[in-house]
């Protein structure tokens, strides 16, 4: 793929990494600036330490990296293409390039991280995976990896999400995973994380928690981002081939922030403007204050005494009141910005992309496009790279209710 091999990357902890310095390795206590850490029950501290050691060791082993990359290529369909969206470019007055993670096996970028973690879990001798899922994309990817590697798998999904993502629930079960509908709390993604953590506390000896985003306790935010470097590195090389350099703006949606972390990592050391788009009802960076939940210090939507608030978004995958700690760091140092868009803007963008380009985006990625549409007057003539992190097939049932059978909001 014309890339530096991972064994030469800064994740190796080389003293002066030439590659990736802004988004490099966190401190030994898992901090990105003041964010991150390992705020888990004592029972899980040793498991996090074991995981970190195993990840460092595996990522330094060319055989592991080769297996990871060949699995993503031969099974996952990498590299994903870069598509120039000519119709939308004309309409919006920008040059819009789209990284097609929607074309990966299982329909989103999630497969990168899941293949990495499942191979690592197997290498560690774990026989069972647990995962949380919001929209179901990470759950489907985890169920897929478990089927591929012959591992037991249980996915926790909020009851609200089980209702609005029935197709993905069926997929996970078809793939041989158990899906538990979580009835506690707000019955969405944050509660699925709680339930997965409770499972892991009890089963840590044979089970790996396959966390789906750049969140949670150290080493997850760093490890998950590292497994997604491949998409950012591909995109950087593809942009260079097509345009001769980096884009002016890189845009991705942000819930926990894994697809954004992956694509940002290919550009953070350059000059491109980095934009992570949050849903208005789950704007952790935009409206949150520093807090501690799910193993990390990060921006967190909370009430006046510190109870975690329930996120509310049309997109199950972004229904999360927190954000990965590295995004909090990138926001704090001013390297990336995190605007939010409303559900109405998202529905417009969802329809627009479908009609203009023949691509039905996941509702999550429609957030990124919604920001581009809004910002278009100020970024005329600029090259904009958007991470199309997932396909919208999973959302069509829900959108039939929103748009009606004729499929338009007009």
């Amino acid at each position: 793929m014309g890339e530096p091999t991972p064994s030469h990357r800064s994740v190796m902890g080389e003293p002066t990494p030439s590659h990736r310095s802004v988004m490099g390795e966190p401190t030994t206590d898992g901090r990105f600036g003041e964010f991150g850490g390992r705020f888990v029950p004592e029972t899980l501290v040793a498991a996090c330490e074991e995981l970190e050691a195993a990840f460092r060791e595996a990522w330094a082993d060319p055989e592991f990296v080769a297996e990871f990359e060949s699995t993503l290529r031969d099974y996952g369909g990498r590299p994903s293409p870069l598509t120039e969206c000519r119709n939308l470019s004309r309409q919006l007055g920008v040059r819009l390039l789209v990284k097609r993670e929607d074309l990966n096996h299982t329909g989103s970028h999630k497969i990168n991280n899941v293949i990495g973690q499942a191979l690592l879990a197997q290498r560690m001798g774990k026989t069972r995976l647990v995962a949380e899922t919001g929209a179901g994309q990470h759950g489907v990817a985890t169920a897929t990896a478990a089927a591929l590697l012959g591992m037991e798998c249980k996915v926790y999904m909020g009851a609200v999400d089980v209702d609005r993502q029935a197709l993905n629930v069926f997929r996970m079960r078809l793939l041989g995973s158990e899906v538990e509908s979580v009835q506690s709390g707000s019955r969405t993604l944050k509660d699925a994380v709680n339930e997965a953590l409770r499972d892991w506390v009890a089963t840590v000896e044979n089970t790996h928690y396959c966390l789906g985003s750049v969140m949670g306790p150290h080493p997850y935010p760093w490890m998950v981002r590292t497994f997604h470097h491949i998409l950012g590195d591909e995109a950087a090389a593809q942009c260079k081939d097509l345009t001769g350099g980096d884009p002016d703006v890189v845009v991705a949606c942000v819930g926990g922030g894994s697809n954004a972390a992956g694509i940002f990592s290919g550009f953070a050391d350059g000059d491109a403007r980095l934009v992570g788009v949050e849903p208005a009802g789950g704007a952790a960076v935009g409206r949150g204050v520093p807090g501690v939940v799910h193993g990390m210090t990060s921006y967190l939507m909370q009430d006046e005494v510190g109870q975690v608030m329930e996120a509310e978004s049309i997109s199950a995958g972004l229904d999360y009141p927190g954000v990965g700690p590295e995004h909090a760091y990138l926001a704090a140092i001013g390297r990336a910005e995190y605007p939010s868009v409303t559900d109405d803007e998202v529905v417009e963008a969802f329809t627009l992309m479908s009609r203009a380009e023949g691509i039905i985006p996941a509702l999550e990625c429609a957030h990124a496009l919604a920001w581009i549409v809004r910002a278009a007057p100020e970024i005329q003539g600029q090259t904009v790279l958007m991470n199309l992190s997932g396909r919208g097939d999973k959302d069509v049932d829900q959108m039939m209710d929103v748009l009606g059978m004729h499929g338009s909001s007009e």
Partner: protein, 268 residues
């Protein structure tokens, strides 16, 4: 007194640890019931538990995401939050309690972090609380809280788990204040049909490296299991059994339940 924390000079024990050490010295096995603060009738449950022979009380301040709690305490927390319980309201009600025994709070770190360590610890002091248990703030992240709580006079109780490695256990037990909370099993709070073998193992490992009181909690489901746990440890924390009784039979029944544990532990 031996200073197990390794810092200079003798350690001065807080009210909770002083009381627990005295009770242990007198030959008693220690009993600490947990009650979810803000749940209907919780204050009467605390008073009933104290009257029935508890050595200290653990007061839960309900949190939105109680990740180490099983279904019973989750349910009580959710109900208390729905009735408007806040850290301030629970502490205000705690201040009105007159039990004659030390109180500790059990809650999650974000409620402490949100206010800031000093304000949080000071609010506990004002409410007559001696100690605090923050189960999602493990020893490796607890440094500044240990320092700030000590400064203000709150005993920061640390948890030791079956998975805590030996190289950390002695330091952890040394840094803990009040007592060492030995987590009896791999799992969330809740009663189990039998005492896990991990419960006696972790208590024994703690006892080998500290002279601080060691209490076993998480997973104790009957007076007989409490007695079994106390063959190795200095005492038992009982949570879900108490809260379940409070929710199903009310605060007076909590007194009766605690009395059965007290009697079993006294018989040995």
């Amino acid at each position: 007194m031996t200073d197990v924390s390794g810092s200079a000079g003798a350690e001065r024990f807080g009210a909770l640890e002083t009381h627990l050490r005295a009770r242990r010295q007198a030959g008693a096995k220690l009993l600490i019931p947990y009650v979810t603060g803000g749940y209907q009738g919780w204050q009467r449950a605390v008073e009933a538990a104290a009257a029935a022979g508890a050595d200290a009380i653990e007061i839960g301040i309900p949190f939105s995401d109680p990740v180490i709690d099983g279904p019973v305490i989750q349910q009580a927390s959710t109900a208390a939050l729905a009735e408007g319980a806040t850290p301030a309201s629970v502490l205000e009600e705690a201040r009105a309690l007159d039990t004659g025994i030390p109180h500790a709070v059990m809650t999650y770190y974000n409620l402490c972090h949100h206010q800031g360590h000093e304000r949080f610890a000071s609010a506990l002091v004002e409410a007559g609380v001696s100690g605090a248990i923050l189960p999602d703030l493990p020893y490796v992240e607890a440094g500044s809280w240990l320092a700030d709580s000590a400064e203000i006079g709150i005993e920061a109780i640390l948890l030791a788990a079956p998975t805590t490695p030996d190289h950390r256990l002695a330091d952890l037990c040394g840094a803990s204040r009040g007592f060492v909370y030995a987590v009896g099993l791999l799992g969330v709070t809740g009663e189990r049909s039998a005492l896990a073998s991990t419960a006696t193992q972790i208590a024994a490992r703690c006892q080998a490296v500290t002279d601080r009181p060691v209490l076993t909690g998480v997973g104790i489901g009957s007076p007989a299991q409490a007695v079994e746990a106390c063959e190795v440890s200095d005492g038992a924390v009982i949570g879900s059994a108490v809260v379940r009784t409070l929710m199903s039979d009310g605060p007076e029944a909590v007194g009766e339940l605690v009395a059965t544990y007290r009697a079993a532990l006294d018989r040995g």
